[in-house]
């Protein structure tokens, strides 16, 4: 009898304390959501804040309502719908996400979209002029410089950046300065040939 009572008391106590904990959690969450983020510990309950971010991509302005933590890569693919730019590693290690920002090649996975509101962004979709392929695209086709094609948009944007930079002369330099783009199919020899064609201004590069 004594034992049962104790158990019942314990049970009641547990229910009460659970209810209290739930209520206080709820209050904490409610308060946290209305407070500035600084006072709340990071993880946890802060409501993501979106802001208006305008990106100029391939000559078109796109008004997005996004969080600051959206990378340029995700903004292009998930919010604008330009899925030519690929996500490989998402950590700067493969080059699949390479785009041109003010003519310079960068990894769009390691930069936030909100950092590029004043920039001119060019993706693989923006290289061709109507039906006319960009010389680098044409050279990749002419030289069969891909197999599955997953790395190709990044390779081509990177190669266009390489030409803009003007530091590659020899095949060895092309290889070194294209090393930020990994190709799991191993199309490297033909990629080097395609880039060399464009650097040398070869006719067949333009197809």
């Amino acid at each position: 009898m004594k034992f049962v009572l104790k158990r019942r008391k314990l049970g009641q106590l547990m229910i009460v304390s659970t209810v209290v904990a739930t209520i206080s959690n709820f209050v904490k969450k409610a308060v946290a959501q209305t407070q500035v983020q600084k006072t709340t510990p990071m993880l946890k309950t802060s409501t993501p804040q979106t802001t208006k971010v305008t990106l100029r991509v391939n000559g078109t302005a796109h008004n997005l309502q996004i969080e600051p933590r959206v990378t340029l890569l995700d903004a292009l693919r998930e919010y604008i719908g330009l899925i030519g730019t690929k996500k490989g590693c998402d950590h700067g290690q493969c080059g699949a996400c390479t785009v041109l920002v003010d003519g310079q090649r960068i990894n769009s996975c390691l930069t936030f979209a909100i950092m590029h509101t004043d920039a001119k962004i060019t993706t693989i979709e923006g290289l061709a002029q109507g039906d006319n392929l960009h010389p680098m695209q044409a050279a990749f086709v002419a030289r069969d410089a891909f197999q599955c094609g997953y790395c190709t948009p990044g390779q081509i944007c990177s190669a266009v950046g390489l030409v803009n930079e003007g530091h590659a002369k020899s095949d060895a330099e092309i290889r070194e300065l294209m090393s930020g783009n990994i190709c799991r199919c191993g199309a490297y020899p033909n990629i080097v040939t395609a880039v060399r064609d464009v650097l040398e201004g070869k006719k067949d590069a333009a197809v």
Partner: protein, 327 residues
């Protein structure tokens, strides 16, 4: 990734005023180290202050030396004509690091402050004294092939991964820092800290202090300098062992030497003893070998990285020999 609030700073004093009072705030430069680690929840700032608009991108002569703005990109420094002419070792170090895309994004300030590539540090499933002080160091008992042989402690053996900093420490670079109370300068050799009992403390920078520039003093013989980097693949990989070397040779005799190593130390590793040993010696294989032996004399190799001792000696000898053959 944790959500954060975002601000752009157009002036150094504004940037400092925004970050200094808030322990959870962080500067955002190229983002190539910070965003990478934010995606892994290794770094979780709640406020980012984007310092890309700061007018700190110039590379210019100052006296007989050069001042490099903290926001100059790694590419711009690498291809700068003054740097290539006077400090080829720095240009080569930068061009051996990361990829062209990353170098276009990465800045000088961010490069100095990039975090280690220790795989346990980068994976929150593991304890790590650097990430969570006092939690332990799984690398010491674990897989430590990429870890340091110099400067480690029983708390941490992570390397500092920068190539640029290795060349800069060999060049006697000085870091210009701005804080709430004004500016101060710290020689790069004193800027990074060995882990000791506090591996979480990596530099002398206080929270909120902003790197504004790196100064390279005039050094007439650094034209004769070279960076040699050994890695697991031909390009786009961190150093297993790297060497920045410069020699002042007159009539076949070494008058002064600069030697620093990367990929092997818990900070960019200047080999002062080895430098001293080279002075007044003939510029030949025997002198280089003796210096190489001295440079790794204090090495404490781990189970999987003992190869770095011999590798580093050979890298030093080859780098010094290359410099010795320069006109």
């Amino acid at each position: 990734m944790q959500p954060f609030s975002y601000k752009k700073a157009g002036q150094a004093e504004n940037a400092v005023a925004l970050v200094a009072p808030d322990a959870e705030a962080s500067y955002l430069a190229g983002g190539t180290s910070l965003i990478d680690l934010m995606k892994l929840n290794v770094q979780t700032p709640t406020e980012l202050v984007d310092i890309n608009p700061l007018p700190l991108t110039k590379i210019e002569m100052q006296g007989n030396g050069v001042r490099i703005g903290a926001m100059a990109s790694n590419s711009d420094v690498a291809y700068n004509a003054i740097i290539q002419e006077r400090y080829p070792v720095l240009s080569e170090a930068l061009l051996s690091g990361a990829s062209p895309q990353l170098r276009n994004m990465a800045t000088v300030g961010g490069n100095l402050l990039q975090r280690t590539r220790c795989y346990y540090f980068r994976d929150t499933a593991f304890p790590c004294n650097k990430r969570v002080p006092g939690s332990g160091c799984p690398a010491i008992e674990g897989y430590n092939r990429i870890h340091a042989i110099l400067g480690g402690s029983d708390r941490c053996i992570a390397t500092h991964p920068s190539d640029m900093a290795v060349a800069m420490v060999a060049l006697d670079a000085v870091v210009q820092i701005r804080g709430l109370k004004g500016e101060r300068s710290v020689p790069l050799i004193d800027f990074h800290l060995v882990p000791g009992d506090t591996p979480e403390k990596e530099t002398v920078l206080q929270h909120g202090e902003l790197i504004v520039a790196v100064d390279l003093p005039a050094s007439p013989f650094t034209k004769r300098s070279h960076y040699l980097k050994i890695r697991d693949r031909a390009s786009y990989a961190f150093a297993m062992s790297s060497v920045a070397a410069a020699l002042d040779i007159q009539n076949g005799i070494i008058r002064a030497a600069r030697l620093a190593m990367g990929g092997v130390g818990t900070k960019p590793w200047r080999a002062l003893e080895a430098e001293k040993a080279l002075v007044n010696k003939p510029a030949n294989q025997a002198s280089f070998q003796a210096a190489a032996n001295l440079a790794v004399a204090g090495a404490k190799p781990q189970k999987y990285n003992a190869f770095k001792v011999e590798l580093t000696k050979r890298t030093i000898v080859r780098a010094l020999a290359t410099v010795g053959e320069m006109a």
